[in-house]
Amino acid sequence: MFIIKCPYCGERDHSEFSYGGEAHINRPKKPTELTDDQWAEYLFMRKNIKGIHYERWNHSHGCRRWFNMARDTSNDKIHSVYKIGEKPPV
């Protein structure tokens, strides 16, 4: 269990939020030109990293807005929260 600081509402228990998977995966610009391998890469292949993971969250029981978060998956410590469209912190 951890506390997430929603960029719009402030600190809330993480049970108010929904996980939206790995962040910064862009939908292909020309989907009709993709090979099956490229589709598989886009749909299914994830970093699954042990360490700092950039991911999307939705404040589903609050403001219902999406944002991004950098969390260390080895200890669930949240390093930063940033808005959609912003560059991930280094």
């Binding site: 269990m1 993480h14 049970s15 929904s18 996980y19 790995e22 099956d36 391998d37 589709w39 598989a40 890469e41 749909l43 299914f44 292949m45 994830r46 699954n48 990293i49 042990k50 993971h53 991911e55 969390r71 998956t73 080895s74 200890n75 669930d76």
Partner: protein, 170 residues
Amino acid sequence: MAGLKLPLESKPLQALVSEPIKPIIDTVVMSNAVHAYVSQSDKGELVIGAGTDSYVSYTQKGTHEIIEGTIKAVLELYPIFSRLKMLRQWGGIVDICPDASPIISKTSIKGLYFNCGWGTGGFKATPGSGHLFAYTIAKDEPHALNAPFNINRFVSGDLVDEHGAAAVAH
């Protein structure tokens, strides 16, 4: 190292054990309707299987809301358990495929085979999958039973949708 990507994500899966009580369940009870999973050990403890957290984590703990949901479901089936105390709880990391089915497969790399991605399943399937995996390695081709669980299904689109089939949270 082999340059091969796997469509796996790692998530904490929890289980709980209660204080011991007199024999009351003589089999594993599972309900897909409320997603309860409970059996009783020879020592009398109830062994309760919970679900996974939704997010990637290697912390080997898991969140309280998952336990809450699991206990709620067990109490739907067995209201008499409501005053039982839980003795311990733990979390293990499971590797799970996007379709919640395992990969038991040869790969594009000669001599490299995978039996992985079991997610929340696996324990009862261990002997069977071992036989099929041995067959696959010995013959360098899958047995008819594990052919659908090939690694190429994420490219071909022939997923084995256990999420849909089991109708429970994986």
